[in-house]
């Protein structure tokens, strides 16, 4: 069974002949409990897909359904849509309201899930902080008092509070340092096993996507050029562009070799 279905999605910027087709007839499917990785370079349209799937942008054509329900239309009430799909953003410095404490932020998300009294919401927030390996005292902190990695954990907790059917994660580790990125990836990997999350995981970093996703879709100029199981995409790419992408990933195995001066295209 699929959790998220994106069908013939097209997004155009502008009108008429000068319009830019950012997303061009894209089909994607995230299995229930599965993680689909979406890789591509800047301008490939992957972030536009994220925004459309999350309901922050209207598609020019095509549908997005979660659990069989269309989430692109206006008719779906905001609260119901919130319980179907949530998004984690790239920059943990800007995705949290600087004027709300971590506790308030998470409790607001809990309120979006169901009506609860204040005590139940506080308890819920504590549980969630624990789930993302943060101390309960963090609830009183404002975002500026936290480091980047901790903020991204708060953003993940806010997302989990709603218990959405599908999570869209858009470049969530690219603003983090290498030493912090690993722990966030480990957290998502553990949560996935614990909670059976269904996720659309978007990144420009092929190695990161491969680590977390079961399947990978490769995007280029608004189209999906190749889709398949992660290891096949990485180790046996069929499309020329995928091969270029894989070949361009810098690797420590190449350290000290003449990789840059040979095989010049």
């Amino acid at each position: 069974m699929s959790a998220l279905d994106v069908t013939d999605l097209t997004v155009r910027f502008g009108r008429g002949a000068g319009a830019l087709v950012a997303v061009d007839g894209v089909n994607l499917r995230v299995e229930s409990g599965g993680v689909l990785g979406l890789v591509g370079e800047s301008g490939s349209g992957k972030s536009t897909i994220a925004r459309v799937v999350a309901g922050l942008r209207r598609p020019s054509a095509g549908t997005v359904t979660v659990d069989g329900r269309d989430v692109t239309g206006r008719r779906l009430p905001a609260r119901e849509r919130a319980r179907l799909i949530q998004m984690i953003f790239q920059d943990p410095y800007s995705s949290l309201n600087p004027r709300m404490t971590v506790g308030e932020t998470i409790e607001e998300a809990l309120a979006a899930r169901e009506e609860q009294d204040a005590a139940a919401r506080r308890a819920g927030a504590r549980e969630l902080l624990d789930l993302v390996r943060l101390k309960a005292t963090v609830a009183q902190a404002y975002p500026r008092q936290l480091s980047g990695g901790m903020r991204q954990r708060v953003a993940i907790a806010r997302c989990l509070a709603v218990k959405p059917k599908v999570i869209v994660a858009d470049e969530i580790t690219s603003a983090l340092d290498a030493s912090v990125q690993g722990s966030v990836l480990n957290l998502l990997r553990d949560l996935r096993a614990e909670l059976g999350l269904s996720m659309l995981f978007i990144s420009h970093n092929l190695a990161v996507v491969r680590y977390l996703a079961d399947r990978i879709a490769v995007m280029h100029h608004g189209r999906i050029v190749e889709e398949g199981p992660s290891d096949e995409i990485v180790h046996a790419p069929r499309h020329e562009y995928t091969a270029t992408l894989v070949g361009a990933v810098p690797s420590l195995d190449n350290a000290g070799t003449d990789v840059l001066t040979r095989d010049e295209p």
Binding site: F89, Q90, S94, L96, N97, A178, S179, A207, Y211
Partner: protein, 629 residues
């Protein structure tokens, strides 16, 4: 705030605050104390100059001008405050609400505000005021009409930042109501600058209201404010020029007080935003104690750059912040050296300090900073610039690093023109040739374009061309591939490598991705907490067991690659990088290091030779067989 900052900033805040409070007290008290007396006409003392009895003289009815000025405080200030507050509320609603109402509403309101701002509203308001009858109410209304659009513009600018923010997007996705979006997200995040602006605007409102009264369309007799008093005084200016002194001083003083208070508040806000207000405590720290003959690498005849004991300090909120401490390195001619490190490691600050491009206010100290035959620490001004023409610099963000208001070709041609006095036409030809050399297609056309008309990869190539055009023997490239996609980054790396092979220039290149440096460089310096912790030949990176410093090992292990085991958790480094403003003694990595001992937490290890052919600064290097020289 530091003592120095307190000394300079606080007096202004305190003085203006005291003045504002005094005016406030006067506004409340003066009419009660002297309201009656200020109206007392003295037919025998008309239009008198200053005297002991009437310090500022009397008006044409013999009323005491000092008392009248004091009593007028209430009306003058009250009206200004009222008008400003009304305008602020109206402005915040007009400018702030659209942020939660969607793009179309935002654009419409934006156009309305722009047009409104361009209106000579005060003139129209005067027209309205005359027809509705000149008076206090219409003057205040006129002022509200005038001030609303500037508040709206401010609120709009601030709110659109909130409106485009990811935290508001997250709130929308949670289904948070628009009302709550406005009250909990938009308002708190725009409140402070708006409040500051209210304070500043009260001063402006005071002046505007007094202008209206001065013209005779504001406050009408028998009421009087400062503007009215000025009008009456100016009518008698040739008889008793001192009559304008009281209200003039009052108007200016009140304007200055509110303006200064607002400015100091704004300065405080800006300081908060930028992290440091620039206070200083004591002199800047100099270079550390000499690390001895075995510390730095011995300089050889082909040494191009020699840096020893480089420290950089910035004035911070709590005294000096030292993002770079005691860095030593050498580069031989034609060598490609990488600098790896996370954000806050000090790698960019180091590179900019070597290139003599530190931000203004930074204190750079070094025992040795030698480039070629020149000791850069001894040179100043033109001589320093001359010596540094041999250093080309490539920056990280090619969009911001190029001047948006200048054609690409002109930005390149500037180098030969100013450095070597090449004629304009020849310099332009040089620029096109340089663009051609970095494989930019149709270079002549591109030279005539502005930076935003080029793609990111092309701009980065143009930057590399710019660094090459002065024929440097050293290129300093600060994260040249970070902002680029992998395929574009790969092409830029190839280009950099090829250009060096062609020109024989040496390169010092930084990246947060150690894998990038492994492919590009011959040697990599790993930085952590402002120091070089390991200096390693790149072939050692292929085999983590050969790496000596625990941080380098952890960094390499934490990097997922295309062969990482998906069933095992990634290696991580516990904790967070240290804050350069709050350094711990000893080894910077000790707090996160599994091998740390008391010695690590107390003493800074020095860079010493290691058997992988490089150097390491660690009390417990992983590969124990250290070669002591």
């Amino acid at each position: 705030m530091t003592a120095r900052a307190r000394l300079f900033r606080a007096p202004m805040t305190i003085a203006s605050l005291v003045l504002v409070c005094l005016f406030g007290i006067l506004a409340v008290v003066a009419p009660i104390l002297w309201g009656e007396e200020a109206l007392t006409a003295r037919p025998t003392e008309l239009l008198q100059g200053p005297s002991a009895e009437h310090l500022l003289g009397t008006d044409n009815l013999g009323r005491d001008l000092l008392l009248r000025t004091l009593v007028a405080t209430r009306l003058s200030l009250g009206l200004a405050v009222l008008a400003t507050l009304l305008a602020a509320v109206a402005g915040v609603l007009v400018g702030g609400l659209p942020a939660v109402l969607g793009g179309r509403v935002q654009r419409t309101f934006g156009a309305v505000i722009n047009t409104w701002l361009a209106f000579p509203v005060l003139l129209l308001a005067m027209l309205v005021a005359i027809l509705l009858g000149a008076g206090t109410t219409t003057a205040v209304l006129a002022l509200v009409l005038t001030m609303t659009p500037s508040f709206a513009r401010l609120a709009q600018t601030l709110a659109s930042r909130v409106g485009g923010s990811e935290y508001l997007a997250a709130a929308r996705m949670l289904g948070v109501s628009r009302r709550r979006q406005f009250t909990r997200y938009v308002l708190p995040n725009i409140a402070e600058p708006v409040i500051v602006n209210v304070t500043i605007s009260i001063g402006g409102g005071l002046l505007a209201l007094s202008s209206l009264s001065f013209l005779g369309v504001g406050v009408q007799p028998p009421d009087y404010d400062w503007g009215r008093l000025l009008k009456d005084g100016f009518a008698q200016v040739y008889n008793s020029p001192t009559a304008v002194i009281g209200p003039a001083v009052a108007v200016v003083l009140a304007g200055v007080a509110f303006g200064a208070l607002g400015e100091s508040l704004a300065g405080h806000l800006r300081g908060q935003d930028h992290g440091h207000t620039g206070g200083r405590r004591g002199p800047a720290p100099g270079p550390g104690p000499g690390s001895g003959p075995d510390g730095g690498q011995p300089s050889t005849p082909d040494t191009l750059l020699e840096v020893d004991g480089l420290s950089v300090a910035f004035p911070g909120e709590h005294g000096w912040v030292r993002p770079v401490r005691d860095v030593s390195l050498t580069i031989r001619a034609g060598e490609i050296v990488g600098v790896a490190g996370e954000s806050g490691s000090g790698k960019s600050v180091t590179m900019m300090a070597i290139a003599q491009l530190s931000a203004p206010g930074a204190e750079v100290a070094a025992r040795t900073l030698r480039f070629g035959d020149e000791d850069l620490t001894l040179l100043r001004g033109r001589a320093l610039r001359g010596a540094l023409t041999g250093v080309g610099v490539v920056f990280q963000d090619s969009l911001t690093a190029l001047n948006p208001a200048m054609r690409v070709g002109a930005q390149l041609a500037e180098v030969p023109r100013t450095q070597r006095g090449v004629a304009r036409r020849q310099a332009n030809r040089d620029a096109v040739a340089a663009l051609d050399a970095v494989a930019i297609p149709d270079p002549a056309r591109r030279a005539g374009q502005f930076p935003h008309e080029l793609s990111g990869g092309m701009r980065q190539r143009a930057l590399i061309a710019m660094s090459q055009i002065g024929r440097p023997s050293l290129i300093i490239a600060d994260e040249p591939t970070t902002a680029l996609d992998v395929t574009v980054a790969r092409r830029v790396m190839r280009l950099l490598r090829r250009e060096c092979d062609r020109t024989g220039a040496a390169v010092l290149v930084s990246s947060h991705d150690i894998a990038v440096l492994g492919e590009l460089c011959q040697r990599v310096l790993v930085m952590y907490a402002g120091r070089v912790v390991e200096d390693v030949p790149v072939d050692a990176l292929r085999d983590p067991a050969r790496l000596a410093h625990p941080y380098t090992r952890a960094l390499v292990a934490a990097l997922p690659d295309l062969d990482s085991d998906r069933d095992a958790p990634l290696a991580t480094i516990p904790g967070e990088p240290p804050d350069p403003a709050d350094p711990a003694p000893g080894c910077g990595f000790a707090a996160r290091c599994a091998l740390a001992t008391d010695r690590c937490r107390a003493e800074v290890p020095e860079l010493t030779g290691h058997r992988h052919g490089g150097r390491v600064a660690c009390w417990h290097p992983q590969d124990r067989e250290v070669v002591r020289s």
